[in-house]
Symmetry: C2
Subunit: 324 residues, 2 copies
Amino acid sequence: MDSNASLKEIGRTLEKASRIIIFPHVNPDGDALGSAAALCFAMRKAGKEAWVLMEEPVPEYLSFMDTEYFTEDLSRARGRYVSVCVDCGEEKRFPKRAESFRRGETTICIDHHSTSGKCGDLYYIDEDEAATAQIIYELLKEMGIPLDRREAEALYVGICTDTGSFKYSNTTARTHRIAAELFERNIDHNSISVALYQSVDEKRLRLRGRILETMELFSEGRGAVACLTDEALKELSASPDDGEGAVEMLRDIKGVELAAFLKEKEEGVRVSMRAKSRGGVSEIASKFGGGGHAKAAGCTLQMHMEEARAVIIKEMEDYLEKSR
Amino acid sequence: MDSNASLKEIGRTLEKASRIIIFPHVNPDGDALGSAAALCFAMRKAGKEAWVLMEEPVPEYLSFMDTEYFTEDLSRARGRYVSVCVDCGEEKRFPKRAESFRRGETTICIDHHSTSGKCGDLYYIDEDEAATAQIIYELLKEMGIPLDRREAEALYVGICTDTGSFKYSNTTARTHRIAAELFERNIDHNSISVALYQSVDEKRLRLRGRILETMELFSEGRGAVACLTDEALKELSASPDDGEGAVEMLRDIKGVELAAFLKEKEEGVRVSMRAKSRGGVSEIASKFGGGGHAKAAGCTLQMHMEEARAVIIKEMEDYLEKSR
């Protein structure tokens, strides 16, 4: 826990505001969008003008979410407003919106990443919370705003995403108690589960096969790496985003402790990393200017694929050797 | 709900007994074993001689479970005892132990399958419970036996297994409240998740690729079928059990409503079926002498693989056409 303000103080600041602009991070996941959406719906209910300001469309796999007040129109951030960034704490995580964020009368940061940059006049970072959605849940309770189905569904998406549907070690009794309360708001949890977990497209499944062909285990099976090459993408006319989920597949191999999945993107080789039991990947990611959690982190390397692959294997080998 | 006895009455019967023999079904899954183990631990704690009687070893993927009082020794069922079958309700689900079951002074059936055969002098079937483990949880509460970590871990395995880690539509607020209580018993949920979900072996992963090659979609992408042939098994020196999880992979394809996975076994072609949103597979399975739940069922066909495949596709096409 690292905060310069309580949720009560943050709540009071929001209560006093009449316009609130919410900033999820780029490359948004279910927790960033779910936390942003729930906060936005609740603020609207409390009579405020609230918007979730984006700098890119909602990813296809999250397009089922209710994003009524999501906008890419920077002019929504006009006049006097309070800024809230959620699930991130650095301006580089919302680069095209950083100026709009800073222009807020008060800037607030709500995050659960241990590597959080804590940008904001007020910040509340709790890395013991499995998802930022759990903090938003607490904040709304603190503010006395009752949860309706709409906020509950958004928060549920956030919690599912960041706990791997209650499987990851960040899940606690509290996570399940919150989930129980969300269920009592009559959420359509089956549709959310189907959308999140049972909507793999055929192309992605075929791509999995191709990624598996590049799989290499090292450090006596305690490390695994695989990559998505441009050739495979072209052949299956897939996009790099179709590689989503591959790194979890590698992590889930018996005996594997650290896994990395590399894909070529315009800005360089994007490396997604996962740790199974003991963490360590945010440490590796931060060496290369990236970040994240102990068990889920990422970075971008300005190298060719083969070089990046060798660098990451070396880092992981060293880490696994050290932590023996 | 279909019961001729309350959990209170079942509890009283167990309290009066000094020896209790518990019968999970053949081909046991996490719910059968978790329910059996939790009941057994609790009965031991209450001063009784209790055994879980098996007719086969615990499957490899569940070998992490605490199975101290599991035995294949039929002579454990001697003298006077109460029999309890869990997660099933037909003697054909424990064929080699049926006589031992019947020899119990009182026979009890605790199950959550809507197709349950309700064998037993006393039976308690509640298909609204996501897992038999939830019924055992309630029974122990009814009997005033406090949960320790050992029972809690066994019940957690049962609940995770049958709800697909809280993803399936059978999950309720109650499921999450029970999970929260189990977490408060300090269960090692991360080790359980790692064992259940993050211990895929390399061979299985390679086999997935082979199974994917046989994949066929039908009924405009609303049905999917794939099979595991003897050739693929030989080539990868894998066993039919290595196909575990394949049917869920098929179900999880976007647009797929019904999925079937076929594998050759000694007794014939074993068909595992899953439905995504609306169910229907127990109906198909029961046509061929099988059974299960609306969304997860299975049967065995005495045919060649190609014939069985055609039969199942036809059944699913008809069902999908009818339910349009």
